[in-house]
């Protein structure tokens, strides 16, 4: 800053101005790149919250997508294979939708027929829902969800938001 004479100021100011435009340009480029990456990242990593009926309505879109399927474990559908495939059961909703589920995870303590569950996984071409994560939803009141078919699927799935296999309350 020793060269503070009048003569020197205009070029410095011009350089400053050029620097500022350069900075704004660089920021704009960085911001748009960031926006693009973020948009792409979100698009690829969405987790859809669907019930059996909505899952069927989605058709091919469901194949390969990450889905949280919520519903009721259909009475009489539970098969506990001790083999590699683990559990098999059907998830139903009140609109009469039904999805066959294969789950490889060890079920939580509360898991049984006629209970509201949320399974995370994806649809395969042969019509099975393959899941590696099985959650019995905790409601906010920490009671087991409703045991009849009138369960509100969306509410049920939402109750597992952020739920890693057995995760719950933290203020």
């Amino acid at each position: 800053m020793s060269g503070g004479e009048q003569v020197l100021i205009p070029p410095v100011a011009r350089a400053k101005k050029r620097g500022r435009w350069f900075l704004i340009g660089a920021l704009a480029v960085a911001a748009s790149a960031f926006a693009l990456i973020t948009a792409g990242g979100i698009g690829k990593n969405l987790v859809y919250y669907w019930g059996p009926t909505e899952l069927h309505a989605a058709g091919d879109k469901a194949v390969g997508a990450t889905i949280r399927l919520g519903g009721l474990v259909a009475p009489g559908s539970l098969k506990n294979n001790s083999g590699a495939s683990g559990l098999e059961f059907d998830v139903i909703d009140r609109q009469g939708g039904r999805v066959h589920v294969r789950s490889t995870s060890v079920p939580p303590q509360m898991f049984r027929e006629k209970i509201g569950v949320v399974v995370e996984g994806t649809m395969t071409r042969d019509g099975w829902f393959e899941s590696n994560r099985l959650m019995v939803s905790h409601s906010n009141e920490y009671r087991v969800p409703s045991e009849d078919a009138r369960v509100d699927v969306q509410k049920l799935i939402k109750s597992t938001d952020g739920l890693e296999p057995e995760k719950a309350a933290k203020p």
Partner: protein, 668 residues
């Protein structure tokens, strides 16, 4: 009687806060010392009323006074006393009441510290604080009223959420979080005061930095304690899941950290005043957004409190605060002009800027991922969430870049430097980076980002250590004795600098710990019959059997699992499944065997006492304990930087007293 008294106390605090806001702004306009004095008294009054209301609630909880609505909601005669006290913050209404207590304490302390501050901005700051205080008092008096009268009075209550009774961390984590969250009100008020008065002087900047640093320390600890609690209690084996509630606490931490760094640059060079205040304002807004997300039920997460009417109220406050902040910034930011330009990019100043940019980018990423599902649901009535891979993919490069900067930034000299100087500063730490990289490769690390984190971590650790001992070396070179050099060079005048580098060392360790623990672990889900064994990592586990235990407030199924490492018996681990009377659902409690190298983590997924079978989650998590240690280091660094310098002694020394030692004089 108690409910009536409680409601009166809350109303009194509301009145005091309202009156305080009015006198504070009047004092700011008229610069009247008398009004400022009355404002301070009203603030102390608010703090006292809030303190009394909280004391009353704790007494009611301890005495099981079920005529109080909140006690009837969360209290129970069966729980131990410490759980009764913790119940204060275990549910929605009590947590807001506790918020009031913490806010009162912060306001009283900050007001006391600001009592002699110039009248041009201090009253404005107090006015903004009191508006916030009035809002929270209103929340307690209205939608979150904990002092409802219950009749008929029930004989017993359900007790607090069992997950909160499951671990002692629940005593520390929530108060820590509130001390972090609520404390951000103070720098917000200070920044608003600076904007309203149109001046951000050196004294204000120091106050701003200090009052930002204090809640930052608590927030840092709270975030990690929350992760630790999740790890020790929830049983899924990890400590972070990018849950909306976790993100809510993380976002203000990011902006506050950015603000701490830019404030340093403001202090040193007089630049970025507007930017620093913007970050402080954003931090406060993010804490309110977080409060809204956890308390409104929009994220129906099991993490958050039950739905209630307080959501819309907070949303209104958030919108008002946002409009006020943006308006204030737009109107006044040009008054906080820079004293000089920023200079070239490859300097320490330049690295500060990049650091800030990265922190803001990080905040945006988390914000977008968290809020996106809400927006989609509002616009198109579709329900979805943004999956964890998004957050991981975005945060890993940003986190490693931050670590890279943490090495390069402090290595670079302030101001312009010659290429030779730059080489001398930047090249030597590369050796440590390469060494750590080699260690990682030998230990079997193959994930690219983990290797990058190790290399950057080695580099950063080298730079940090060199900077830490630099003042010592200079003093040794001048022939000072060790104790003298250490106390003056690290703790005396240089305390802030040392604190900063200690915090950097902690951060370096955390990033390395996260990188290693999240990529080098092993996880298996197994179903075992009695007597069966399984090998995971270096461990052999044998399921010995289940036993039932009966405790005053719960029943438990305990699994006995013998753990061997080769021939060595490491003892029996006992993960359990607790059942509480108030709920039908059992709660698993994992056990963790912690060593400096790795954790062995056992969590029951299901247990059948009749068939004696056990569904078990077994995880080997390397280096997790270093996260907790590193957080302690970071907090320690923060505390070191926070402790005020000694006041000038020269003026008060009388003639008969020996002259203060040179170190003390230098410290002033």
């Amino acid at each position: 009687m108690t409910p009536l008294l409680g409601r009166s106390l809350v109303l009194v605090s509301l009145l005091l806060a309202g009156a305080g806001a009015v006198t504070a702004f009047a004092a700011g306009r008229s610069r009247s010392a008398v009004l400022w004095m009355w404002t301070r008294r009203l603030i102390y009054g608010f703090a006292a009323a809030m303190g009394a209301a909280n004391l009353l609630m704790i007494t009611a909880l301890l005495r099981h006074d079920f005529s109080v609505g909140y006690v009837a909601h969360v209290g129970s005669r069966l729980v131990p006393d410490w759980v009764s006290v913790v119940s204060l913050w275990s549910s929605l209404e009590g947590s807001i009441l506790f918020w009031g207590l913490v806010l009162g304490a912060y306001l009283a302390a900050a007001t006391h510290a600001q009592r002699d501050a110039p009248l041009e901005s201090a009253p404005y700051s107090a006015g903004v604080w009191m508006v916030c205080a009035a809002f929270f008092a209103l929340l307690i008096a209205g939608p979150a009223q904990p002092f409802n009268t219950v009749s008929p009075v029930p004989a017993d209550g359900p007790g607090p959420n069992p997950l909160l009774q499951n671990h002692v961390l629940m005593i520390i984590h929530p108060p820590c979080l509130y001390l972090g969250y609520v404390g951000m009100t103070i720098p917000f008020g200070l920044a608003c005061g600076a904007l309203l008065s149109g001046r951000l002087g050196r004294d204000q900047l120091l106050a701003l930095r200090r009052w930002l640093l204090l809640p930052w320390i608590f927030l840092t600890m709270a975030i990690v304690l929350g992760g630790w609690w999740a790890y020790e209690v929830l049983g899924w084996g990890g400590y972070w899941a990018w849950d909306p509630v976790e993100n809510a606490s993380f976002m203000p931490w990011l902006t506050a950290t950015a603000a701490l760094h830019s404030a340093l640059l403001t202090e040193r060079r007089g630049v970025l005043k507007g930017w620093t205040t913007t970050l402080v304002l954003a931090t406060f807004l993010l804490t309110i957004l977080g409060t809204f997300m956890t308390r409104s039920g929009v994220f129906n997460s099991v993490h958050s409190f039950t739905q209630s009417a307080i959501g819309p109220t907070i949303l209104v406050f958030l919108s008002a605060a946002l409009l006020f902040s943006v308006g204030l910034l737009a109107a006044r930011i040009d008054r906080l002009s820079a004293d000089e330009g920023l200079g070239p990019a490859m300097t320490r100043e330049g690295m500060f800027l990049v650091n800030n940019l990265l922190f803001v980018l990080f905040t945006f990423t988390v914000l977008i991922g968290t809020v996106f599902p809400l927006v989609v649901e509002a616009l198109r009535d579709l329900q979805m969430s943004v999956g964890r891979p998004f957050f991981d993919r975005m945060s890993v490069p940003i986190g490693v870049s931050l670590l890279f900067l943490l090495g390069v930034g402090p290595a670079l000299p302030w101001g312009r430097s010659s290429p030779a100087e730059m080489r001398r500063a930047l090249l030597p730490p590369l050796a440590s980076g390469l060494v750590l990289l080699a260690v990682g490769l030998v230990m079997g690390v193959r994930a690219y980002w983990t290797l990058a984190a190790l290399a950057c971590g080695g580099y950063a650790a080298h730079v940090t250590l060199v900077e830490l001992v630099r003042p010592l070396r200079q003093r040794f070179a001048r022939g000072e004795a060790f104790a003298r050099a250490a106390s003056d060079g690290l703790l005396g005048r240089a305390r802030r600098r040392t604190g900063g580098y200690v915090a950097h060392a902690g951060f370096t360790l955390i990033v390395i710990g996260i990188a290693v623990s999240s990529t080098m672990g092993e996880s298996r889900e197994v179903v075992l019959r009695q007597g069966e064994s399984v090998a995971v990592g270096r461990y052999q586990l044998t399921f010995l059997g289940l036993e039932e235990k009966s405790e005053p407030h719960r029943q438990a199924t305990v699994a006995n699992v013998a753990v061997y490492q080769g021939e060595r018996n490491l003892g029996t681990m006992t993960p359990r499944m607790n059942r509480y009377a108030a709920m039908r659902e059992p709660v698993g409690t994992p056990t963790v065997r912690t060593t400096l190298r790795e954790d062995l983590y056992l969590s029951i997924m299901n247990a059948d006492p009749e068939k004696q079978t056990l569904g078990l989650l077994v995880r080997v998590n390397p280096m997790v304990v270093w996260l907790w240690i590193a957080t302690g280091i970071m907090a320690l660094g923060g505390v070191m930087a926070l402790i005020p310098r000694r006041r000038p002694v020269v003026a008060t020394v009388s003639a008969s007293v020996p002259v203060a030692p040179p170190g003390a004089a230098a410290a002033s």
